[in-house]
């Protein structure tokens, strides 16, 4: 918008440069060939729609949304468990804004708040500690979600709580890891993906090495991408160049932010406080081993799952819900049978429609008006 410039942001939104990159992308497309690239991260989905990036792409290049939306992949049962905790005596639940409208089987956090639960929105997990200090007679439980981008912050917050000797703070840990989700995607037989636009901010923590197997063993080019529109266009250009040159590598487009080796301190903090769960249920992807984190025994006093006997009921998705297929990139949002009819932002059935960076919400809220052509799920 017409405001004072934001450094490291505005330069990467320049329209004239975009035309140049778009021309380069055009040239790299082989006549008659269609390309499908999966953008894994919900933040990328959001950026693509917010800036109208698809308007710069030729007909031949299609983007598929992947499972990198940590809100979208939380099964209803875990939302119910969180609300159950929030409704316990003396609990103040803190949560990121993203979660507040996600529907559990008995309603969302906002609806639980309307019924009297003390649920407060925070920007940072550290803010939960302040609330805990200010309310010594209550227990603050932080609803922790996110991929590896966010996990170190929760871990550091637990370490801070331990250092301060806080005894009224706990975490309900729903952190998930990206690699198992990618493996689940790659295992889908019907998927036609030519390459991946990799999660830039997750990579600041885990680095670029973990994606090697995708490029080397599965033969899919992988470009770790930044979040500004030019970053995404450049990443697409780099993917096409790899395909054109017959290469299949992991490349880092987001070099100004992502170090190849990741952030050792962040990984260290995660490792000190947490360990992988044997298995975890992902919405739409089923149970995946070693795909989520839990607090170590050493930090049990901060673990909501040990402090409370949560119901842990498995709640299956409503029969009409096709979030799973959207998350795996099998169908586009508009191809879901309840998209826009029974499932809308006001009356969401699934998380893809509620989460601000869920594919369905992004498409409904931003991208619904298509000036041009029609795309079918089966083309790839």
């Amino acid at each position: 918008m017409g405001a004072g410039g934001m450094r490291f942001v505005d330069e990467f939104r320049d329209r004239d440069t975009a035309r140049g990159v778009a021309a380069s992308i055009d040239r790299l497309c082989e006549p008659g060939r269609r390309y499908g690239f999966m953008e894994i991260c919900g933040g990328h989905t959001h950026t693509i729609y917010k800036h109208g990036i698809e308007d710069y792409l030729p007909e031949a290049v299609g983007l598929v949304h992947g499972p990198g939306c940590p809100v979208c992949v939380i099964p209803m049962g875990r939302v119910d468990d969180a609300i159950w905790i929030a409704e316990q005596d003396g609990v103040i639940m803190t949560s990121f804004g993203d979660l507040l409208r996600v529907p559990g089987s008995r309603g969302s956090f906002l609806e639980a708040k309307a019924r009297g639960a003390d649920i407060r929105m925070v920007y940072s997990p550290l803010d939960s500690l302040r609330i805990a200090r200010e309310n010594p007679d209550r227990r603050v439980v932080f609803m922790a979600i996110g991929f590896e981008t966010t996990t170190p912050s929760t871990a550091m917050t637990v370490l801070r709580a331990a250092a301060e000797g806080l005894d009224n703070f706990a975490v309900f840990c729903n952190h998930v890891t990206i690699i198992p989700a990618l493996e689940a995607i790659l295992a889908s037989p019907d998927l036609h993906i030519d390459g991946f636009i990799g999660p830039g901010h997750v990579s600041t923590v885990i680095g670029c090495e973990p994606y090697r197997f995708i490029a080397e063993e599965r033969g899919k080019p992988f470009v770790v991408a930044g979040f500004e529109p030019l970053d995404i266009l450049q990443s697409i250009q780099m993917l096409l160049l790899q395909l054109h040159e017959g290469r299949s590598e992991v490349e880092n487009q987001y070099t100004r932010v992502v170090p190849w080796e990741g952030n050792k301190r962040a990984l260290g903090a995660i490792n000190e406080v947490m360990e992988p769960r044997p298995t975890f249920e992902w919405r739409g992807l089923g149970w995946i081993p070693d795909s989520a984190m839990q607090l170590r025994e050493k930090y049990a006093r901060f673990d909501a799952e040990r402090l409370y006997s949560i119901p842990a009921t498995r709640v299956s998705d409503p029969p009409a819900c096709q979030c799973g297929e959207v998350l795996r990139g099998m169908i586009k949002p508009w191809e879901c049978r309840v998209f826009g009819t029974a499932c809308t932002p006001e009356t969401p059935i699934g998380t893809c429609m509620v989460s601000s960076e869920g594919a369905c919400a992004a498409y409904y809220n931003f991208g619904r008006f298509t000036r041009h052509r029609v795309r079918q799920a089966s083309s790839a």
Binding site: M1, G2, A3, G4, M6, R13, R15, A18, R19, G42, G43, Y49, K50, H51, G52, I53, D55, Y56, C69, P70, V71, F96, G97, D98, L100, R101, L110, K113, A114, M121, V122, Y123, S124, D127, G146, T150, P229, K332, W334, E335, R337, F339, G340, T341, P345, E346, S355, S356, E357, Y364, N365, F366, G367, R368, F369, T370, V374, R375, Q376, S378
Partner: protein, 358 residues
Amino acid sequence: MTQRTEKEVLERIERIRRRPPRVTDERITLAHGAGGKATHTLIEALFLDAFRNPLLEPLEDQAVFTIGGARLAFTTDTYVVSPLFFPGGDIGDLAVNGTVNDLAVSGARPLYLSAGFVLEEGFPVADLRRITASMAAAAQRADVQIVTGDTKVVQRGKADACFVNTAGVGVLERPVTLSAKAARPGDAVIVSGPVGDHGITIMLARGELGIESDLRSDTAPLTELVGLLLDAAPRTRFIRDATRGGVATICNELAEASQVAVVLEEEAIPVRPEVRGASEILGIDPLYVACEGRFVAVVAGDEAEPAVAALRTHPEGERAAVIGRIADDPPGLVLVNTGFGGMRIVDMLVGDPLPRIC
């Protein structure tokens, strides 16, 4: 399953969106108060349904009627802001300016206000004095008088410190009829100043986000600015002050009522750097953030330049700008040409824009 095309799905969605709204929630949630879709559904399906009459039907921010030869505008608004005191003003300023503005944007000269207070037991009298002083000063600045009022006190815990309701009446001396239904293709959309100042100021003032800035609320009376606009652009179709729900919500209401498309230019929308910075940190869009001293107006295409020039002569209108145009297609939708060169829809949000981490 038949392969529906994307086009068919989008058409079906549009048909469903045109259906009359129904309230299915059992309990009121905060979304109902945010000014977005939930609020609109509540108003249309519950209140309008119960009170239905020709003056209410247009669902403008004020009712306009003629009595004994005088055209009068009548409006009301309730103020529940928390915190009560914030950089740039307090609930008293909002209570006066908000109602004055709802009258002014109909083209009326605001005359008289009522002020009703609901006070929580234990509320400091010193705070009440501050608020009342603000209201007196705001009324003087806006050239209105507070001529009647009411006070109620409720038990501790039954109200959040202090709620204020103001109702106002004004007289329409200009022969204008402004309406959300009046926009036509070729018209220009104008905003009177930078967007989002008030909403971000309040969000930051609540303290929970831990973000600081030098931002102040933009609360101000718009009567003079509206006067300048109508003098320079007598064929103005519509003016509304951008309160909760922000500029995006007004544009959606307009697109829906007039059955036109509103096409905005992202780069033309004035936003202060601090509003932009805070919005980027929180992941919210300034287009949805409340203002309290800004209006959105739709003027005839050829009157756009003189309108903006006139507004810019006033200190509150220094950054007035044309931010978009009215088109005929697709009807009922608001689109933005992004700074990057692409396009996206600006739909009405369900509730408040919530900060996100993803």
